[in-house]
Symmetry: C2
Subunit: 526 residues, 2 copies
């Protein structure tokens, strides 16, 4: 499963440690920008010209990627190896959108066909909701669709929906506006419900196990809210997305159920029924299908063994270098499009839950830092917020810019000689260069040290295909980093202790730990 080699024990890694870091001033030429801009799938390009690594370091990183057989590990993953050893599970989210490396039938079951059948069932359901053939229990057409889920059942689908809401509206595809209920805080559900009419609201309950505390509590609240209105049958307003073995499966409490399985991890589930049902209902089945097309393109590219032709693996290796060689603990994701406002929150889960680990796949403590802290907000908003720290703070934060050449919406009148789109992208170009090159000044407070590395994912327009590629690019980046660090990127044992202690607070008699009792009392929970 793993290559059996540890990254810090490879000779190429040892060479990297003694190889000098690059000074970006002087290095950032148009020729380099052209040479270091490579396809990332879905019409996107990945540009890493402004990363502070020279060609020598990149050659050594390529050597590391070959020695650790990163692409071979990816091949094993898609072919059905047990790449989640802690839970003894395969990792099959790629099969929700294609078959990179060719078809693979595992354990006598064609998983690709299973996921595709569920997608087609969701598409058919979505068409009927969108046409009004499936309506609420009082006969009125559904106008709003609400996902009830948390973590991967919330962040990915929400980020994708918001990314395409305006795109779909402009193209007449936004049949139902979507909303999301995630937090066990009842103010979350009550806030969302305050804008809804039970008669015209459809809810999608998403929990693989069917036992997620927050999601079941919110379902209970939503059912009570639906039942307040005479004539409403909650079972005709709720569908489930779950595993076939969960208590929610084939349950008459739901209008319909759609299935995933144990081989789709929550944070990797946006392209399964977890994202598929709500995105197909809200934005149209064809929109969701186009997301999958883009994701499959990025997945195919990730099969490329040559590092300089494999955008997600390049992004992964440069990130490992920043984190472990240059010692940079955080990464900022900075999309220059408001539509991606919640995409950084999705990446926060994807990256930090996958690779925020201190034990490797052999159960040994890691000896070099693992996954970084990930945060981010859209530009240009961030420029007026935390960029001060990024330009002149004492730490260097590697930056991941995302940009598009065109708007999603049509209205963009010129002001002071340029459109807003042109201003937006002029800002993005300016920031890349300002971070990389800095500026001297006699006033030390106005001095910009520069040497602050960034990469750029750039496309023509944030459409479904580009969005799918963007999503898969990051999934594959995180996967390759996990392989490089020899981590299991597909479990999350770190979330268990808190759940267990919560149970003791809620159990009869309360917790035995005196500190836990004291905090629970301070918070009014005992």
């Amino acid at each position: 499963m793993s290559s059996g080699k540890r990254i810090d024990e490879t000779s190429a890694w040892q060479s990297i440690l003694s190889h000098p870091a690059e000074n970006l001033r002087g290095a950032l030429t148009p020729a380099r920008i052209a040479a270091r801009t490579i396809p990332a799938g879905g019409g996107l390009d990945y540009s890493y010209a402004a990363m502070d690594v020279d060609d020598g370091t990149i050659a050594l990183l390529a050597d590391v990627s070959r020695t650790l057989d990163l692409v071979g590990q990816y091949g094993a993953l898609v072919a059905g190896a047990i790449m989640n050893p802690g839970e003894k599970r395969m990792v099959l989210h790629h099969a929700t959108r294609g078959q990179p490396g060719g078809p693979a039938v595992k354990e006598g079951r064609d998983y690709r066909a299973f996921y595709e059948d569920e997608r087609l069932r969701a598409a058919s359901f979505a068409d009927k909701v969108r046409s009004g053939d499936i309506a609420g229990s009082t006969g009125r057409r559904f106008e709003r669709v609400v996902q009830i889920g948390i973590g991967g059942s919330d962040l990915g689908p929400r980020a994708l929906y918001l990314a395409l809401e305006q795109w779909a509206r402009e193209r007449g595809k936004l049949a139902l506006k979507a909303a999301f209920i995630s937090n066990v805080d009842p103010d979350d559900a009550n806030g969302v419900l305050s804008g809804l009419d039970p008669e015209t609201s459809l809810f999608i309950l998403v929990s693989k196990s069917g036992t997620t505390q927050e999601t079941l509590a919110n379902e209970s609240l939503v059912k009570a809210w639906l039942s307040k209105k005479p004539g409403i049958d909650p079972a005709r307003h709720l569908v489930a997305v779950t595993s076939e073995t969960s208590p929610l499966a084939r349950n008459p409490a739901y209008l319909d159920s759609f299935y995933i399985d144990d081989y789709i991890g929550g944070r990797y589930s946006a392209t399964s029924a977890v994202g598929g049902v709500i995105l197909s209902v809200a934005l149209g089945p064809d929109t969701f299908e186009a997301i999958l097309v883009g994701a499959a393109e990025a997945d195919e590219l990730a099969m490329q063994p040559d590092l300089s032709r494999n955008a997600s693996m390049m992004d992964a290796m440069l990130g490992v270098y920043e984190r472990c060689v240059l010692g940079r603990p955080s990464v900022a994701v900075l999309p220059y499009t408001q539509a991606l406002s919640r995409f950084p929150a999705h990446l926060q889960q994807l990256d930090m839950e996958s690779n925020g680990k201190q034990v490797d796949r052999e159960g040994k403590s890691v000896v070099i830092p693992s996954g970084p802290t990930v945060f981010g907000e859209p530009g240009t908003n961030g420029q007026h917020s935390f960029y001060q720290h990024l330009h002149q703070g004492t730490d260097i934060v590697p930056l991941q810019f995302i940009g598009f050449r065109k708007n999603q919406t049509g209205f963009d009148p010129e002001f002071e000689g340029s459109t807003a789109r042109k201003k937006l992208n002029a800002n993005l170009a300016a920031q890349i260069v300002a971070f990389a090159l800095g500026k001297d000044d006699a006033d030390p407070n106005r001095r910009f040290p520069g040497g602050r590395p960034s990469s750029l994912l750039v496309g023509d327009e944030l459409d479904p295909r580009a969005l799918g590629a963007l999503l898969a690019h990051y999934e594959n980046k995180v996967m390759f980093q996990g392989f490089a660090w020899n981590l299991n990127s597909f479990d999350q044992e770190g979330v268990q202790l808190g759940k267990k202690l919560t149970g003791t607070v809620l159990a009869k008699g309360g917790p035995s730990d005196p500190a836990l009792s004291a905090y629970a009392r301070l918070l009014g929970a005992l």
Copy 2:
């Protein structure tokens, strides 16, 4: 202005460096939780029992705070000293809500009276909008209010509005729903406008200088959108919040104008007219006034020279210790209330733009790390996202929890023996203890190292007064940290270079820098 002493040169700091860090296992007793829970204003308490510092370290931090005269510097600030030396300005945001340390008239002008007069003018305007006495140009009552602003003109007001939207709705105070347009990306404005009717929409344009590129571009787009509908006079749908010397002041293009001045920094402006107009219109003038009452309480508490009675200064000093002694580069803000969903984004600006600096107030390079990276999401959502990294990652991230004993909204049916509120707070208590104490396990993948420090701001209910105190607590924390690091927390020279380079891309002829030209072309901006 500064104490003239550098923190790393104080003898107490030297003692801290050789003082052992504390092991939380065994230390986290109910007695310690009681002793280390102190008032923070507005009915809030600040609990720092789960920080990994012993009483000896706290005594030394108190010694540092006295040696650097942090409270004395705060006193000088509110009395009108030039605490923003780079821009040669006073720093007077406290005067928008009170007079900590007693009245101070500066330069012959009573600033407190000026800010209070503007608040009262905004309250009167808001009452007329809410009653319908001021209506749109076709005579229809305003139903929606939209702030156009970026950075401090967006993040703080937006965070406060979202914090109280459900609270106000439940109490019949939400007369107009608010929205925000910030990004120069036209998809942001078009997305917000797609849900609005020009006849019933009121816009608040916020720019202190009246020259902010994004805000003027968005104003131009909004005016064009308003003008598309026959019978709409944009001047009757727009008000300005600006300085008295800006081009927007006393301008017939606006229905009315409200004023701030150069002594209110953007990220500290939420309690000025920048937040006051929209919050008064949307939530009611009494709601905004109650926010100020809570903020003033926290400001008064911050005058307390005894560290163990000064919550914001304690929070500040513990943060300096984590950052500079224990070497922790990031801080996570984790509110256990969905209403504070955007409060971490506000704190990100507040902290990272204030203290993300590498030059001190004397123009010398800092020798120890300055402000950290700040990020966060509401709990329990974060538990299903990045908490894996917080529990088992290779870096330790100090945590800032926020919790409340009661809901804002009334509907909270029991499910499986407890309300959602109880579940929420049981989770919060459990997380604090899980992070602090960890858990051993024979399986290294299920081992929790513990020793992960957290603090807790806790109150009865997130009402306007508690929210005001919460806001001011963090403002004062960041201010005290700036004093401790001898930084100017009130300028932001780091944002200038990007603006300047953007201008060269948009100027006739384009930029002279070849790398900038190449990036601008790649992004379609040339």
